[in-house]
C-alpha cells in the first residue's frame, strides 16, 4: 500500500533541493552535477541504511526483496550517511574533484534535505516528544507534545547559512563541524524522544559515537593545521 507521507517527503526534498541549488549555486560543480550527486548519495544512503537495519533486526529478511523494499519499517541513519560519504570520496577521486571543497559545498544541501526529512514527521504520523504546554496533538494523542522532529529541523535549518558561508573558506573544519552538529542534535533529540524502557536507543548510542568521532577529528585537524605555523615560527 502507498505511503503517502513518504511520497510527500520525497517530493518536498527533491523540490527544495532543486530550488536550493538555484538560489545558492554550488561552487565546485555545476547545478546539474550537484543534483546528480545529491540524488546518488540519497539513494545509496537509503538502500544501505535499509540493508543495515535489516541485518540488525531481521537478517532472514535480507533474502526477500519484498521485505527489503518496505523501507518504512526502518533504516539505519548513520550507516547510510557513512556509505554516502564514502561514495562522495570515491566520486571526487574518480572525477578529480577537490574533496573537502566538494563536501563543504554539499553540506548545506545535505542539511536542508535532512531538515525536511525530520519535519516530515508532520505527515508521517505525527511528531512525538515529551508532554509540554507548547506543542502539537499528533494523531491519536490526547495530550499536547513538544514536536522534537520539528525542533531538530529548525536547528538544522538555522545552521545552513553558517555552513555555507564557512564552507567557502574553511571546507575541512566545516565538513567535520557539520557532522558533529547533526550527530549532536540527534543525540540530544534522542533524550526527549519517547522510548520503551530506560536504555539508550540505538539512534542515541550511534549519534553519541559519531559526535565523539567528529569532535576528535576536528581536534586532530586543528592540531595538524597549526603545526606548520609553529614550525615556521620557531625557524
Amino acid at each position: 500500500m502507498i505511503d503517502k507521507g513518504l511520497l510527500l517527503t520525497l517530493a518536498a526534498i527533491a523540490g527544495t533541493l532543486v530550488a536550493a541549488v538555484r538560489i545558492w549555486p554550488p561552487r565546485t560543480v555545476d547545478r546539474s552535477t550537484m543534483l546528480d550527486l545529491a540524488t546518488s548519495v540519497g539513494v545509496l544512503g537509503v538502500v544501505v541504511g535499509r540493508l543495515f537495519f535489516m541485518a540488525l533486526e531481521d537478517p532472514g529478511g535480507l533474502t526477500r526483496i519484498g521485505d527489503i523494499l518496505i523501507v518504512r519499517s526502518g533504516m539505519e541513519f548513520w550507516a547510510g550517511a557513512l556509505v554516502g560519504l564514502i561514495y562522495l570520496v570515491w566520486t571526487a577521486h574518480r572525477r578529480e574533484l577537490p574533496l573537502w571543497p566538494l563536501l563543504a559545498d554539499m553540506a548545506p544541501y545535505g542539511l536542508i534535505a535532512y531538515a525536511i526529512f525530520e519535519s516530515s514527521c508532520l505527515v508521517r504520523g505525527g511528531c512525538p516528544g515529551p508532554v509540554a504546554g507548547v506543542g502539537l496533538y499528533p494523531e491519536g494523542f490526547a495530550n499536547r507534545v513538544f514536536p522534537v522532529g520539528l525542533a531538530v529541523a529548525l536547528v538544522i535549518l538555522a545552521a545552513v547559512p553558517v555552513v555555507r558561508r564557512l564552507g567557502r573558506d574553511h571546507p575541512q573544519p566545516t565538513v567535520v563541524a557539520t557532522l558533529a552538529l547533526v550527530a549532536g542534535v540527534r543525540a540530544v533529540a534522542s533524550i526527549w524522544l519517547p522510548r520503551v524502557g530506560e536504555a539508550l536507543t540505538r539512534q542515541h548510542r550511534t549519534s553519541i559515537l559519531v559526535a565523539a568521532v567528529a569532535v576528535v577529528t576536528a581536534i586532530v585537524l586543528a592540531v595538524r593545521s597549526r603545526s606548520p605555523l609553529e614550525t615556521a615560527a620557531q625557524d
Binding site: M1, I2, D3, L6, L7, L10, A14, P25, P26, R27, T28, V29, D30, R31, S32, T33, L35, D36, T39, S40, G42, V43, V46, M54, E57, D58, G60, G61, R64, G66, D67, I68, L69, I70, V71, R72, S73, G74, R95, G125, G126, P128, G129, V131, P138, E139, G140, F141, A142, N143, V145, L193, P194, R195, V196, G197, T201
Partner: protein
C-alpha cells in the same frame, strides 16, 4: 558562479536522478505487506468475555474476539495483527515483546495471527518468545471486522475501549512508546 550547463557529459542515457526517481517511487511507497479490507472505525459493543489463557492460541471469530476486547476495558490495550510471512511483522515483534514486558500490568497486548498457517504462527510466537495473548484469525473474520489494510497493523485503545490510533506498517519505538504513554495519562 558555476556554469549552468553540465560540465560532465550525460549523453542520452537516463541520469541518476531519473533512475532514482523510478527506484524510489516504487520502493519507498510501500508501507506494509498488502492486505485487503475496508477502512473504518472500530466500535466495541459486546458483552465482555473472559480473556483466553496466554499461550493457548485459540481460534476466534469476530464476535468472540470483540467480546474478548470488551473484557479488556479498564486498562488501555493494543491489538497487533500480524503474520509469520510478513517482514515488517518480524521487525516490530521484538519491540512489541519488550514493550509488553515493560508495560506489564498497565497496558494489555493482544496479537492476532491472520492469513497464516497455524504451525507457522506457533513457531513465530516461540521464536520471539511472546508472553502476551495471541489468537488465531483462521477465517479472516477478525481482520475484516477491524478493517485491516496491511500487515502489520497495530490498534491502540484507551481504557474505555475507544480506538485512539491505528498504525499500518511496522511501528517504530518512538511512536509506540509515545502512544502508550499518552494512553496511560
Amino acid at each position: 558562479m558555476a556554469p549552468s550547463t553540465a560540465r560532465l557529459t550525460h549523453g542520452t542515457r537516463p541520469g541518476p536522478r531519473a533512475l532514482a526517481a523510478i527506484l524510489l517511487a516504487g520502493a519507498l511507497l510501500l508501507t506494509a505487506c498488502s492486505a485487503s479490507g475496508a477502512d473504518g472505525s472500530i466500535v466495541i459493543d459486546a458483552d465482555p468475555a473472559p480473556t483466553p489463557e496466554t499461550g493457548s492460541f485459540p481460534t476466534l471469530g469476530a464476535d468472540e474476539f470483540e467480546a474478548v476486547l470488551a473484557g479488556l476495558e479498564g486498562k488501555p490495550f493494543i491489538v497487533n495483527i500480524w503474520a509469520s510471512w510478513c517482514g515488517p511483522c518480524r521487525t516490530e515483534t521484538p519491540l512489541l515483546a519488550r514493550a509488553s514486558v515493560e508495560y506489564a500490568g498497565r497496558v494489555t497486548f493482544v496479537g492476532v495471527a491472520s492469513r497464516d498457517i497455524r504451525q507457522d504462527s506457533l513457531d513465530f510466537i516461540d521464536e520471539y518468545g511472546l508472553t502476551y495473548l495471541n489468537v488465531s484469525d483462521r477465517q479472516g473474520e477478525i481482520r475484516r471486522w477491524m478493517g485491516l489494510r496491511g500487515f502489520p497493523t497495530t490498534f491502540f485503545f484507551d481504557a474505555d475501549g475507544n480506538l485512539r490510533a491505528t498504525i499500518v506498517g511496522g511501528v517504530s519505538e518512538q511512536r509506540l512508546a509515545a502512544l502508550l504513554e499518552d494512553l496511560l495519562r
